[in-house]
């Protein structure tokens, strides 16, 4: 074992802070491994980190112990721990040299069954789900452009600030109605229900955001209270739940019409982006103008076609008359006796009119015979009636 360096001042051995911490660490390392029981709180796991951190809490006294475990070891356990669960952790005491903080270096963690809260919560969740309170078809669409946005928040400056900043940046043309309520501890559920009812009573509030930052499992419990969950489900206007962090799922999340991982995400859900809206308006105006122009264009060309037809009408009538005349002329032509003479017939006249019967003349009478070209003077030699 390496020696812990110290400086000697006369009869005094003096250690540096680091050497002291390291020395204590070496002593702790000689203690046997132990099992420790406690409730999991503040579990922090990140893919980029080598270790997973959590705090074990004694449910009776509130005493806390920091625990670290190698991330790979933790992942292999496939525990998916929930805050508030009671676990057994096996490990050795260790000291975090930089801070001089005592902790437990875990080699394994075992689930001891869900805590009482979790059991009750799970039972409530099943009952409400069976009632259909979380059914997808119950979810209402959020208004596209809310007249007023109701915000139900605790005295939580960060969550409220993020939400207000996001809405101001995206869509300042609205009104935020903020109702602060006691959101944790005793009486919180009743306060949340009352605040939601008051926001619902405002005629112009079109959507409500529940904005509550991260907190321990216990801190978020009011948002899983049955009265709160039912109030969210029966809210007049759609509710967006932005409660806790990504990994938390209070029951109000399931009853809400939409869920946002952060207050910022909630802000983006409840109001449109004013720039996109302005672009859409411009596009609509272009369509409006184009629609009128093509309507006028259509009317104008229809008018032009009608004008053309009007101007063409007299000429058309003349042409029709001329054609009719031409047809009459042709018919007249076929009926003319002169045309018949042309085919070899002759007209015989005796005295006045055309001769139709041999009995009308006697031998020796003078006849006039008209041919197609010229005429003949003749005399009757023989009559054969």
């Amino acid at each position: 074992m390496p020696k812990v360096e110290h400086t000697v001042y006369g009869d005094r051995k003096v250690f540096t802070v680091s050497a002291f911490n390291r020395g204590i660490g070496m002593h702790l390392g000689r203690l046997p491994p132990v099992w420790v029981e406690g409730e999991v709180t503040e579990l922090r796991r990140n893919d980029a980190w080598a270790n997973v951190f959590l705090t074990l809490k004694d449910p009776k006294t509130g005493a806390c112990l920091s625990v670290t475990i190698a991330r790979r070891t933790y992942d292999r356990l496939e525990l998916v721990l929930v805050e508030g669960e009671t676990v057994h952790v096996a490990g050795r005491a260790e000291i975090y040299e930089l801070k001089g903080e005592l902790g437990l270096r875990a080699s394994t963690i075992e689930r001891l069954g869900l805590g009482d809260h979790l059991v009750a919560l799970e039972r409530l969740k099943r009952a409400l789900a069976a009632e259909g309170l979380f059914a997808p078809e119950r979810k209402r669409p959020l208004p596209r452009v809310p007249r007023e946005v109701g915000i139900l928040t605790g005295a939580d400056a960060a969550a409220r600030g993020d939400l207000v900043a996001t809405i101001r940046a995206r869509f300042p043309a609205t009104t935020l109605v903020v109702r602060e309520a006691r959101v944790q501890g005793k009486g919180a559920a009743r306060a949340i229900v009352a605040a939601l009812a008051e926001l619902n009573a405002r005629a112009e509030v079109d959507v409500v955001v529940l904005a509550r930052g991260g907190g321990s499992f216990e801190d978020l419990l009011p948002f899983s209270d049955e009265t709160v969950v039912r109030a969210v489900a029966s809210s007049r206007v759609p509710v967006v739940s932005a409660v806790g962090h990504e990994q938390d799922t209070p029951l109000c999340d399931l009853a809400a019409d939409a869920r946002a991982a952060t207050p910022t995400a909630a802000g983006a859900l409840v109001v449109p982006d004013v720039r996109e809206l302005a672009l859409a308006l411009e596009a609509t105006r272009r369509r409006l103008r184009l629609a009128l122009r093509s309507q006028v264009e259509r009317d104008r060309s229809r008018l032009a076609r009608q004008g053309d037809r009007l101007r063409a009408a007299p000429r058309l009538i003349l042409e029709r008359r001329r054609a009719a005349l031409d047809r009459s002329g042709a018919r007249l032509q076929t009926l003319s006796p002169l045309a018949t003479l042309g085919r070899g017939y002759a007209i015989v006249r005796a005295g006045g009119g055309a001769l139709r019967s041999a009995a009308d003349v006697a031998s020796g009478d003078a006849l006039d015979i008209q041919l197609a070209a010229g005429s003949l003077g003749a005399r009757v030699e023989d009559v054969r009636p």
Partner: protein, 65 residues
């Protein structure tokens, strides 16, 4: 009468455009619709421009909540 919401104005504008685009509106009506559409557009833009976020604090009816 309460002021009409932005969404209502925008919906009316969209309906006007759709009607005009169908092209079966008599020309006089079309011009009237167009004028109405322009008004709606201007009203929508005016509401977006220069708007400042209003924040109203709701005082609890029951101070304990």
């Amino acid at each position: 009468m309460t002021e009409r919401s932005f969404e209502e104005l925008q919906r009316e504008l969209d309906e006007i455009v759709t009607r005009l685009e169908r092209g079966d509106v008599p020309v006089d009506d079309a011009i009237a619709l167009f004028k109405r559409g322009e008004e709606l557009y201007k009203e929508c833009v005016a509401r977006l421009q220069g708007a400042e976020l209003q924040i109203e604090e709701l005082v609890p009816r029951d101070p304990a909540t």
